[in-house]
Subunit: 401 residues, 3 copies
Amino acid sequence: MAQSKNDKIKQLLAEQPSGFSLAQSFYKDADIYQTEIDNLFLKHWLYAGHLSQLAKAGDYFTFEFDSESVIVLLTASGDVKAHMNVCRHRGSKICLTSSGNQKSLTCPYHAWSYNLDGELISARNMPEDFEPAENGLHQVKVELLGGLIFVCLHDNPPSLSALRRDLSPCIPLFGLNSMKLAAHKSYVIPANWKLAVENYQECYHCAPSHQEFAKVHAMAKSPQVFKTAKDKFKQANQGNPKFATFDCYFDLAEDGQEGYQYDRNPLLRHAVSGSADGKAVAPLLGAITEYDGGASELMIGPLSYFLIYDDYMVAYRFLPRSIDECVCDVSWFVNKRAIEGKDYQLEQLTWLWDVTTQADKTIIMNNQKGVDSRFYQPGRLSEMETFQQSFLNWYLQALVK
Amino acid sequence: MAQSKNDKIKQLLAEQPSGFSLAQSFYKDADIYQTEIDNLFLKHWLYAGHLSQLAKAGDYFTFEFDSESVIVLLTASGDVKAHMNVCRHRGSKICLTSSGNQKSLTCPYHAWSYNLDGELISARNMPEDFEPAENGLHQVKVELLGGLIFVCLHDNPPSLSALRRDLSPCIPLFGLNSMKLAAHKSYVIPANWKLAVENYQECYHCAPSHQEFAKVHAMAKSPQVFKTAKDKFKQANQGNPKFATFDCYFDLAEDGQEGYQYDRNPLLRHAVSGSADGKAVAPLLGAITEYDGGASELMIGPLSYFLIYDDYMVAYRFLPRSIDECVCDVSWFVNKRAIEGKDYQLEQLTWLWDVTTQADKTIIMNNQKGVDSRFYQPGRLSEMETFQQSFLNWYLQALVK
Amino acid sequence: MAQSKNDKIKQLLAEQPSGFSLAQSFYKDADIYQTEIDNLFLKHWLYAGHLSQLAKAGDYFTFEFDSESVIVLLTASGDVKAHMNVCRHRGSKICLTSSGNQKSLTCPYHAWSYNLDGELISARNMPEDFEPAENGLHQVKVELLGGLIFVCLHDNPPSLSALRRDLSPCIPLFGLNSMKLAAHKSYVIPANWKLAVENYQECYHCAPSHQEFAKVHAMAKSPQVFKTAKDKFKQANQGNPKFATFDCYFDLAEDGQEGYQYDRNPLLRHAVSGSADGKAVAPLLGAITEYDGGASELMIGPLSYFLIYDDYMVAYRFLPRSIDECVCDVSWFVNKRAIEGKDYQLEQLTWLWDVTTQADKTIIMNNQKGVDSRFYQPGRLSEMETFQQSFLNWYLQALVK
């Protein structure tokens, strides 16, 4: 008799050893993947984009993963709202391009038309008992943290109150409200999304795989060397809110609260930014007045990562397209007053994280190939993979929540 | 415990609301798709092609859907016959090209050879007790309506007697026997076949999506405007068999009979054909002696559609390749005495329905994308989607027949 | 209730008629395919390559099928060893190219490093209780027959003792040890692997499909003509070990032993090799001193085939990539002292089996298309398909072993 989906998942969880990489089924089983979409991607806050992408009423961009498409837009009254990109008539996608400006949202199929708030304002030739008020677009929850726009597709999303309490100094400090999107690249990776996320969450591979990164980041050094450098860096800046630490991530998140983490890590001697030579590549961000030789790691929700140098921010987002393909979206942000070509060069700005992400794409593909083997078995994690272990702890709990 | 296939389908049928588009499972569930092939495509009459494609003995063309391939040919005695394109030895496809001429049907693998009637006439080195007479090609039922060739892959196909009784005047009138195939195009659409059929069955989308069509067809107007124009058009031509109406389609078909429908609809003022400017693009068909400003809709079996202007006919056929891909085959027919380049220009002839089908392909793709969302739900149908509703009624019944 | 996998397979076996091609499920059912990998491909000896591909310590090549990748290499002490190409840390593929030279096997992800014997020699920052000795690469069994390298992914492979006993004269005779790989081509075939193997196992299709082959091989003639020619050929060479016969293949293999077969077949009058005109294309192999107008068929394990002319050998290997795609690897071997361009021309050497394999690829594709039809049913095998029948007998038994 076929095992039920729930029983199968429970058995896999019971068999998964702690301190080891995941068993193969977590990367290959269709029921596991479906449960991940339901319990992780549909229930948590995901980074959708930045306010600087919505300059005027009607500006929109779409946010897509698996089979889902969300329209994020600016309403006539200046609010950021998000709607499912699915017509309530026969289900057509409404916005067909990834960004644009629309006075109203008119389905290209039968011209059902919704205002920017998602209310149905026009549907020809409907029966008399049809209720337009009951046929608005499905609403998606939206929250802003500074200019960062987060969406949650669930009606009862986790609270962001703890995150707001702790991270509010970051908003003016890094100017999350006064940034602009300078560049964006999507990397399609033929691998399960978790292999991409796990890759991002540990720097055990930095020294062997990312010489460009390792040249400027202390994190690529051994744990002992990194700890010494970090302790010294933190002590020298004690009391400065830029150097605060919040470990409320994954399994450490407060009950009912979305997870988050903030920490600042030292760069290597002389380096002040993430660039080929460690030199700055753009004007200072927000309220920052001088380079301190560090970079902040800000993580909000389970799958959105922000790396903030003094002169630019990189946003990382990992989203599944299917069980064996994911997309890594990388966005580069600079001070909104910076002028391209004058204050910063796109090629210099994007170089480090483009070359690093391209290398990771290859690494992740080859990881998937090995994980596909019947001879793959969970392997012991190193002392440089503790953050990945936290993710795995949370992931396994979240699967059955 | 896994639900049985039949129980699942019954539950889906019970949950499907009337007057709404179909629930997502009907477009995504593999068991539903398999049942559709078994109960719809294998049990009903499907338009395969036209007699003008078979000029002399041995001429053949293939007719393909899902994993099936049928050889339709003209035998030495002048009969149209159809055989499954599957060798009885080890199953190789026999005719590898979509049309041609063969004296006999010889499998390219081991040279088993069948005559045009499908009888095995040569198989080398077989055991003594092998019976060639039991190893002919699987026969497929064939019926002709005028020159239109229909096939049914089931041994007990629905009767065509009612259809023949009612539609026999159409044959000389439109010259179904005296047409020739002028052009054919296949549009591969990455969507479930029903989304393509539903698209064809309603003109609710014509005004917003097909300005080229809407310019010459009254049907694209509102129901009230269209009804007024049609009533006037019908009254002016009362008693003329060209203006008859038969509504024996889908759930309205007589018991045991294949469904069919015939009706004539007005074009817009001045238009006499389906063309860019409404002017004729080819010589009159069959026994037609003058343009009447109308176009006939003839539908035979659940999935074959013929649109007959006074000067040309378009045949539409929708066939699945897999659960999420279908093909729309469009064939243009003209009077067999018409000479290309002199009496008609291919580009003018095919323009309207090529541009319209290309637009529909895009529409249908985007419909599929939205239907794939977890947030898609059946939506209320309009008063301009009643024919689609009839199809859905029939479809839901046919699934469990 | 869903049928269990084992019950389904048992029922399919019970229903499969003897003397007929396989039922459709054997080519289409995902559980059948999984069972084939487990019971056939993982439990038997497979031809991986030739010693001439491993010239010096650290030389390696990979051997791949389905989701598996094996590294075959020469150790520092001159042994041929094979390891699963899966890092014991987080499962990355280690060797990313199909051949090369490595001093050690270092994973490109986190730099875990293994020596050529597969022992873990370096893993940074691991917890104190981590045992490198327990984290070596998964070992794969290796056996050499002359220079031919066979691997088995199972811990208890079938014995090769009978094969070694009977076939040992072949090694010096054909110089299996003194050959070199002259050319290699991979043919990716969009069909189930069994359709490719069955194609290779019968010459019923040679006359209709392979005129190039049929021009030089008596085997393409009718069974009677071939038997007469073969009897005469064998009698004329009685007692010569080159003309021995061993039928220990498939269901004829001794219990616990890997199957094998050896036989020598006559070419047609005047032909001495498998070439366009039947003339030699390379210097004599091994201990052969003159052309005898024959070609030996050597089969080792269920899926590795060697065709040995007096002047060259072709190795054939069929491996699945997925249920509906397989790869046919063809390797051409010549006397290791032969010099390309002087003693042999690559184009002449490879012509016959390249043109033949390309034709077979098309044949097999079209076989799959027909087998996919709901109207396909097992067909009666001819008297020229007895070897294929032996394979099918063995295959059906092996599925449930």
